[in-house]
C-alpha cells in the first residue's frame, strides 16, 4: 500500500514538473470607471473617469496602448455628495455621456450638451432613477437612443437625442415605445436595429426598434423570461442572451432561476429564439453594484459570457455556421468581476473592465479598478488549472493517474448569500499535468459522488437538494440555493465523449457508495439502498440500512461489504417485523428512529444484512472507512449538561476493530489538546454545517491509504496537517500552512486533494499552483 501511495505521489510530482505555463494574463492599471465602459470593435474601449474637478472620457486602444482623452465639467453632486449615475454610448457622432443631462463629445473634442426639460409632473423626467435603470445605445445614424425607466412605474420611456450641429443637441420622445422596465436589456444589431428585452413585467418579451422609422415591433418571445440578461449582437445579425434571473413574479423559484444556467439565441430571419447549450456555471449575479453579467462575440462568431459571481469566462465556439455542443471554461480571471464589461480582442483573448468586487476585508462591494486581459489556447478543452477542484463537494474519482472532477458548489456572501452549482466536468491528468474539459454534466450538481466503472466509463450521482426555506444546506436555508437541484444519475463514456442519463425518481436523494461488480451501490439518507446496473438500467432494492444518516462516509469494500459511517445518524431503534412479511419465518430487525446526531455507530451490509457496530464513545464528526472494514472516527464528546460542576467537551479519535464490536482510543497528535477549539466551535452538534477545528480526512486519490488530521484556526483557515502512521500508531506533523500569495488562507473544509511531494504538501487545486502554500 505504501508503495502505491509513493507511486501516486511521485506521479503527482512528475505532473508538476510537466505543467504548462499559464496563458498570458495582464492587469492594466487605470482608475475605477465612473460608468460601464463601452467596447468599440475589437480594440478600443471607451471609459468615463472622474478626475479631481472634471470628468474624463478616455478612448483606449489596447493594441497600440494609445489613449485619447477628453474632458467634461463635473456635474453637481447630490446631498450625499455623490455624483449622479452615468452612462456611456459611442457611435460616429462621438462619445455620449448621459446622466441628468446628455453630453456628446465629438471626435474633435468639442462638446454639445442638453439638459432634460424640467417636467411638469412629479412622475416626469426627474423621477427617472438617476440613470440606474437607463440604457443608452449609440445608433448607426449617429443619434442616441435612450431608454429610461421611471421610478415607481413599470413603463419606461424612449428618447432620440440628436446632434444639431455646433454645441446643440435635441431631445425627441419616441412614441409607441412598448412596456419595458427594470431588468431590460438592449443591443444594437448588425443592421442598425435595436433589440430590446423588456425586463420586469414582460420578461419574456422582445422588441425591435427600427431607427429609420422610429417604430417598435414585437419579435419572438424568449423561451425563458429573464431580467438583466447578458445580451450581445451576433455577427449574422442576430443576438444571444444568457444568464441572470428570471422574472420575480408568478413562477416557482426553480423556474425563476432556470435562466441562470440557460442561454438562447435570436434568429434574425425567423424572429424566433432557440436554446443554446446550457451554461455549465451559473451566470447569475445577485449583488450590490452589479445587475447582470455580460456577453460578447469573438471575431470568429464564437460566443463569450462572463461577469458572474465566479471569475470564469465561458466560451461557446462557433463551428461551421453553428455552435459547439457545450460551453467551455475558456479563461479565468484573477478575481471575479461581477457585471464586468467584456471585450473580445481576438479569437483567444479578451479584456474585462470594471465590475463589482468584494473589498479587501471581504465586504461587499466596490467597483474594480483597472482592466484584466486574459488569453487562452484552443477552445478551453485543455486548461492548466481545475475549475472543479476548488469547489465544495464536487465529485472526485481517481483511476491511476487520471482524476475525474465534476460539479460542486460555491457560496457567495455579498449583498445576500447565494450558493451556485457547477456542471463542469474535467479530467485531471496528473502525468501530463493538464486538465481536460469533458462534456458538462447533464445538470448542475451541488453535491454528488463519482466512481470509475472501468477505464472508459465514469458514473456520477448528484444528490437532490430542494431550494426551499426549510431545506437546510450546510447551515443555510434553501433560499440560498439558486434552484432546487435534480438528483440525477449519469454515466460518461469517455470514448464517445457523451453522457447517458439514468434518471430514476426514487434515487433522487441517494448517494453513490461505490461500485460493486459493475453495479452502482446507492444509499438514501433514510437508509433505503439499491443496486443499479448502468448498462441495463435495472434497479434492484437492497435491504435498507437501519439508521437514517446525513453526511458521513459510504464505501464499497473490495470484498463486497458496504460500509456507512460517520456524519449524523439516528441513534435509537425499535425491533419490529416487516409488516408486509407473511409467515412464521419473518424475523424481527431494528428500525432506526429519532433525530440525527453525530453518529456513534456505523453499519455494514454483508450477505444481504445490515449490522450496526457497537457505539463509539464520541459522536463522530468525520470518519474514515479503512480497506479492511475498520472505521477510524474523530468525534467530539459533548460535556454532560446535568453535571454539577461544568465540564468541557473533548475530542477523541477512535478506531473500531474489523467486527465493529470494539473501539479503541487513538492518540491525538502531540501538541493537540483534547479540548482543541472548545468551547463553542466544535463539530459536536452538526458536523456538516460547522467548520470543524479538527477534521479527519483521507486522500481521495489514495482511498484507505493516506489519513490526515487537519487543524483549522478560529477563522476556519487550515493551520496544521498531520499524517497517520499505521505502522507507528501515531501522528506525524507534515505541514503547516503559510499564506497564499494573495493572502487568503485555504479553508480546512476545502481540501479535495492532498499531495505530499518531498517536504511540501499540496492541497486544493494542485494544478493551479495556488495550493503550494503548506510547507513543513
Amino acid at each position: 500500500m505504501h508503495m502505491m501511495i509513493r507511486s501516486l505521489l511521485l506521479l503527482a510530482l512528475c505532473g508538476f514538473a510537466l505543467l504548462p505555463q499559464a496563458p498570458r494574463a495582464a492587469n492594466i492599471d487605470h482608475p475605477v470607471p465612473l460608468a460601464e465602459p463601452v467596447a468599440v470593435g475589437h480594440d478600443e474601449m471607451v471609459f468615463l473617469f472622474q478626475a479631481d474637478s472634471e470628468l474624463r472620457v478616455e478612448r483606449r486602444h489596447w493594441s497600440s496602448g494609445k489613449v485619447v482623452t477628453f474632458r467634461l465639467p463635473l456635474p453637481p453632486r447630490d446631498a450625499q455628495w455623490r455624483l449622479p449615475r452615468h452612462l456611456v454610448a459611442v457611435n460616429d457622432s462621438g462619445v455620449w455621456v448621459v446622466s441628468h443631462k446628455v453630453s456628446l463629445v465629438r471626435p474633435n473634442g468639442k462638446v454639445a450638451q442638453v439638459e432634460f426639460p424640467v417636467p411638469s409632473t412629479s412622475r416626469g423626467l426627474t423621477a427617472y432613477e438617476e440613470g440606474a435603470q437607463d440604457i443608452a445605445i449609440g445608433l448607426a445614424d449617429g443619434d442616441l437612443l435612450l431608454l429610461r425607466k421611471v421610478r415607481g412605474e413599470t413603463r419606461g420611456a424612449a428618447f432620440r437625442i440628436r446632434w444639431q450641429g455646433l454645441d446643440r443637441l435635441s431631445i425627441q420622445r419616441i412614441e409607441g415605445t412598448p412596456q419595458f422596465s427594470a431588468g431590460a436589456a438592449a443591443a444594437r444589431l448588425r443592421d442598425g436595429r435595436v433589440l430590446m428585452l423588456a425586463g420586469y413585467g414582460a420578461a419574456d418579451q422582445a422588441w425591435l426598434f427600427d431607427p429609420s422609422r422610429d417604430r417598435w415591433v414585437q419579435t419572438g418571445s424568449l423561451r425563458l423570461g429573464r431580467m438583466h440578461g447578458a445580451l450581445a449582437a451576433t455577427a449574422d445579425g442576430g443576438a444571444f442572451v444568457a444568464g441572470n434571473g428570471g422574472q420575480l413574479q408568478g413562477s416557482t423559484k426553480d423556474a425563476q432561476e432556470a435562466a441562470s444556467h440557460a442561454a438562447e439565441i435570436w434568429n434574425p430571419r425567423s424572429g424566433q429564439w432557440l436554446p443554446l447549450p446550457p451554461l455549465p456555471l451559473s451566470l447569475r449575479v445577485t449583488t450590490y453594484l452589479a445587475e447582470g453579467p455580460s456577453a460578447t462575440v469573438l471575431p470568429d462568431g464564437s460566443l463569450l459570457v462572463a461577469g458572474g459571481m465566479h471569475p470564469h469566462v465561458l466560451l461557446l465556439r462557433a463551428r461551421n455556421g453553428t455552435y459547439a455542443p457545450a460551453w467551455q471554461v475558456a479563461a479565468t480571471l484573477s478575481k471575479p468581476r461581477m457585471g464586468g464589461i467584456m471585450q473580445a480582442l481576438g479569437n483567444q483573448e479578451l479584456v474585462v473592465s470594471r465590475g463589482a468586487q468584494s473589498t479587501n476585508d471581504d465586504r461587499c462591494c466596490r467597483y474594480a479598478a483597472g482592466s484584466e486581459r486574459v488569453a487562452w489556447r484552443g477552445d478551453g478543452e485543455q486548461r492548466p488549472s481545475s475549475v472543479g477542484l476548488v469547489r465544495r463537494d464536487g465529485a472526485v474519482a481517481q483511476r491511476v493517474d487520471r482524476v475525474f472532477v465534476a460539479g460542486g458548489w460555491e457560496s457567495f456572501y455579498f449583498s445576500t448569500g447565494a450558493i451556485q452549482a457547477s456542471a463542469v466536468a474535467e479530467l485531471v491528468d496528473q502525468r501530463a499535468g493538464t486538465v481536460q474539459a469533458l462534456p458538462p454534466l447533464p445538470h448542475p450538481m451541488f453535491t454528488g459522488k463519482a466512481q470509475w466503472l472501468d477505464d472508459d466509463r465514469i458514473i456520477v450521482k448528484a444528490i437532490a437538494h430542494r431550494a426551499l426555506y426549510e431545506q437546510p444546506f450546510y447551515g443555510m436555508d434553501g433560499r440560498s440555493l439558486e434552484f432546487g437541484s435534480r438528483g440525477f444519475l449519469a454515466v460518461l463514456d469517455l470514448k464517445r465523449n457523451t453522457w447517458t442519463v439514468l434518471d430514476d425518481e426514487k434515487l433522487a436523494w441517494a448517494e453513490l457508495a461505490g461500485v460493486l461488480r459493475g453495479e452502482a451501490v446507492l444509499i438514501n439518507p433514510d437508509g433505503a439502498a439499491w443496486l443499479m446496473d448502468p448498462t441495463s438500467r435495472q434497479v434492484r432494492g437492497l435491504p435498507p440500512a437501519i439508521f437514517a444518516r446525513r453526511g458521513g462516509t459510504l464505501r464499497v469494500l473490495p470484498d463486497g461489504r458496504v460500509v456507512v459511517a460517520g456524519g449524523e445518524a439516528q441513534s435509537e431503534s425499535i425491533l419490529a417485523v416487516d409488516a408486509d412479511c407473511q409467515g412464521a419465518s419473518c424475523q424481527e430487525r431494528p428500525y432506526g428512529t429519532g433525530p440525527l446526531k453525530p453518529a456513534r455507530r456505523y453499519e455494514v451490509l454483508r450477505d444481504g444484512q445490515w449490522a450496526a457496530s457497537t457505539p463509539s464513545q464520541a459522536g463522530s464528526t468525520s470518519a474514515i472507512v479503512l480497506q479492511d472494514g475498520r472505521v477510524m472516527a474523530l468525534g467530539w464528546i459533548e460535556p454532560p449538561t446535568n453535571a454539577k460542576t461544568p465540564k468541557a467537551g473533548r475530542w477523541l479519535i477512535e478506531e473500531s476493530d474489523v467486527s465493529g464490536r470494539q473501539w479503541r482510543a487513538l492518540p491525538l497528535p502531540e501538541g493537540v489538546s483534547s479540548a482543541e477549539g472548545a468551547p463553542g466551535s466544535s463539530c459536536g452538534r452538526s458536523a456538516p454545517e460547522t467548520v470543524c477545528r479538527l477534521l479527519l480526512v483521507e486522500h481521495p486519490s489514495v482511498p484507505s491509504g493516506a489519513i490526515f488530521l487537519l487543524r483549522a484556526g478560529a477563522d476556519g483557515a487550515l493551520e496544521d496537517v498531520w499524517s497517520w502512521g499505521e505502522d507507528t500508531g501515531g501522528w506525524k506533523a507534515v505541514a503547516r500552512q503559510s499564506r497564499t500569495g494573495a493572502g487568503s488562507p485555504l479553508a480546512a473544509d476545502r481540501v479535495p486533494l492532498l499531495v505530499l511531494v518531498g517536504k511540501t504538501l499540496y492541497g486544493a487545486d494542485l494544478l493551479s499552483r495556488q495550493a503550494r502554500h503548506w510547507v513543513q
Binding site: R466, Q471, P472, A548, E568, I574, D578, A579, T593, P595
Partner: protein, 448 residues
C-alpha cells in the same frame, strides 16, 4: 310548615274557583320553575322545580296547575305551560343546532339540569351572561380594540368591574356541583369503532377528521389508517367500554366513565383578560372565574412499556382553570402520563409505549408486545416531504397472555426536516369484546 299551609289553602281555594282533575303524571318542562303557594303570579314561591321533575297534576285553575312532587316532596301551583305529559330529553334541548339548523328548543339551563357537569355549568353561565345583562353592559365587558370613535380600549386599571349578582338558578347549579355529582353520561369519552374511523378517514379532506359523537382526530391519523392494519380481534381482556378510558380523558370524562363523584370549588370571580391576539374581555362563566374540579377518589392508569413491563399508577385527578392564564402552545406530543404514584408491587415503567385509564386494577405486570413496521415512501408533494412519515410502527399488546391483542398502538414517525424523524402521531385502539375501538389519537404539536 309554610308549604303545608300553602297547599291546604290552595285546596280550599280550588273548591271555589277551579276544577279538580284526576291525578295525572306530568313533567316540568321549564328549567327552574317557581312553585307558588297560590295560583297567582304574586303567590309566594314555596320552591323551585327543575326540568323533568315528575309531578302529579291535581287541579287546573285557569293558567295555573296545582301539582305535587315527590322529589322534592312539595305541593303548590305552577303555570300550566311549564308542564308536559312527557319528560324533556337532552336530545331535544341540549344542542344549539339540530341537523345543521338552529334548535329553537335549545336551553342551556335545562341542559344542565338534565345532564349536570362542569361543562354544562359553564355554558349555562354564559347563557345567564347573555340573558341577564343589558346589551350595553355586555359591550362594555367585550369591548373592541377601538370604539366607534376610534378611541382605544381603556387601560386595564380603567376598565369597569364586571356586573354580577346572584341568580338563584345559577346558585343552585353551582351548589349541585359543589356538593358533588357524577358527570352526566354524555360526558363519557367517545370510543369510535374501527369501521366508523375508516369511513371518517375516507370522507375527510385534508382537515381534521370528524368522527361520530362529535369527536375529532387530527388529519395525521389519515395516513395511519390507510397504511396500517389491525390484527383480528376476539373477545379478550376488555369486556365493556366502561372498563377503560383514554389517556386523554378529562376529569369529567373520567367521572362519567367510572362513576366517580366530581366536585366544584370556585376559586374566584370573572376577571378582565387581554389575550395577545384578541381584544380584552371579561373572562369567566357568569360569576365563576377560576375554579377547580376534583374527583372523590383517584383514577387508575395502566402503562405498558415497550418491552412488556406493565405498571399501575394512580392519579388524584383534578382540573384547575385559571381564567387569567392565557393558553400557551407547548411543543411535542400532547399527551403525557399524568399519574405519579405507582401502586405497590407493580414495576416502574419509564417512557411507556401506551397508557390508559382503567376502571379496576389490571393484575398483569408483564404483557406481550409484538411490533410490526412499515417504511413509508416519501410522499410526492413538497409539503408532505417535510411533514410526511418515514415509518409506521404497529404494536400489539396482549395483556392477559391469551394470544389475542387487547391494545393496538400505532406510532407514525414523522420527518423532522433535518433528515431524522420523531414521533409524529400515536393512535391507540382497544379490543373491547372482540371489536376494535379508537381510544386515543395523539399528535406532535409544533408552535409557530
Amino acid at each position: 310548615m309554610n308549604r303545608n299551609f300553602a297547599a291546604a289553602a290552595a285546596a280550599v281555594l280550588a273548591l271555589f274557583t277551579g276544577h279538580a282533575v284526576a291525578a295525572e303524571k306530568q313533567w316540568v318542562q321549564g328549567s327552574w320553575v317557581n312553585l307558588r303557594a297560590a295560583a297567582a303570579a304574586n303567590g309566594a314561591i314555596v320552591d323551585r322545580l327543575i326540568v323533568n321533575t315528575e309531578v302529579s297534576l291535581l287541579l287546573k285553575q285557569g293558567d295555573w296547575c296545582e301539582v305535587t312532587a315527590k322529589t322534592p316532596e312539595v305541593r303548590g301551583f305552577v303555570t300550566c305551560s311549564m308542564l308536559g305529559t312527557q319528560a324533556v330529553s337532552l336530545a331535544e334541548v341540549g344542542s344549539p343546532m339540530l341537523a345543521d339548523k338552529p334548535n329553537p328548543r335549545y336551553s342551556a339551563p335545562r341542559a344542565f339540569w338534565l345532564a349536570p357537569s362542569m361543562v354544562r355549568l359553564q355554558v349555562a353561565g354564559d347563557h345567564f351572561w347573555n340573558a341577564m345583562l343589558t346589551e350595553a353592559q355586555r359591550a362594555k365587558e367585550h369591548p373592541q380594540q377601538f370604539d366607534d370613535k376610534g378611541n382605544p380600549v381603556p387601560d386595564a386599571d380603567k376598565r369597569p368591574p364586571p356586573v354580577r349578582y346572584a341568580i338563584p338558578e345559577f346558585e343552585a347549579m353551582k351548589d349541585l356541583l359543589k356538593r358533588g355529582v357524577v358527570a352526566a353520561p354524555e360526558r363519557r369519552p367517545v370510543l369510535v369503532r374501527w369501521a366508523e374511523l375508516q369511513q371518517a378517514v375516507a370522507n375527510s379532506v385534508n382537515e381534521s377528521i370528524q368522527l361520530p359523537g362529535g369527536r375529532w382526530v387530527p388529519d395525521a391519523v389519515g395516513p395511519m389508517v390507510r397504511n396500517a392494519r389491525l390484527n383480528a380481534a376476539r373477545p379478550s381482556f376488555f369486556q365493556r367500554e366502561a372498563d377503560l378510558a383514554p389517556a386523554a380523558s378529562g376529569i369529567e370524562e373520567l367521572s362519567a366513565q367510572f362513576g366517580i363523584v366530581e366536585r366544584l370549588k370556585v376559586l374566584g370571580g370573572p376577571k378582565w383578560v387581554h389575550p395577545r391576539h384578541n381584544d380584552p374581555y371579561v373572562a369567566g362563566n357568569w360569576d365563576i372565574g377560576s375554579f377547580e374540579i376534583t374527583l372523590d377518589k383517584p383514577v387508575l392508569e395502566y402503562a405498558v412499556g415497550r418491552k412488556g413491563l406493565a405498571g399501575l399508577r394512580e392519579w388524584a385527578a383534578s382540573w384547575r382553570v385559571d381564567v387569567t392564564q392565557e393558553e400557551s402552545c407547548s411543543e411535542g406530543m400532547n399527551l403525557t402520563p399524568r399519574a405519579v404514584r405507582s401502586l405497590p408491587d407493580y414495576p416502574q415503567v419509564k417512557d411507556p409505549l401506551v397508557w390508559l385509564h382503567v376502571a379496576k386494577p389490571v393484575p398483569f405486570k408483564k404483557v406481550r408486545v409484538t411490533t410490526a413496521a412499515r417504511k413509508l415512501p416519501p410522499a410526492p408533494k413538497e409539503q408532505e416531504q417535510r411533514n410526511g412519515y418515514t415509518t409506521l410502527f404497529m404494536h400489539d399488546v396482549d395483556i392477559d397472555g391469551d394470544g389475542v391483542p387487547d391494545i393496538a398502538v400505532w406510532e407514525g414517525m414523522q420527518r423532522d426536516g433535518k433528515g431524522g424523524d420523531t414521533l409524529g402521531v400515536r393512535v391507540v385502539f382497544a379490543n373491547i369484546a372482540g371489536e376494535w375501538f379508537l381510544v386515543d389519537a395523539d399528535y406532535l404539536v409544533e408552535c409557530s
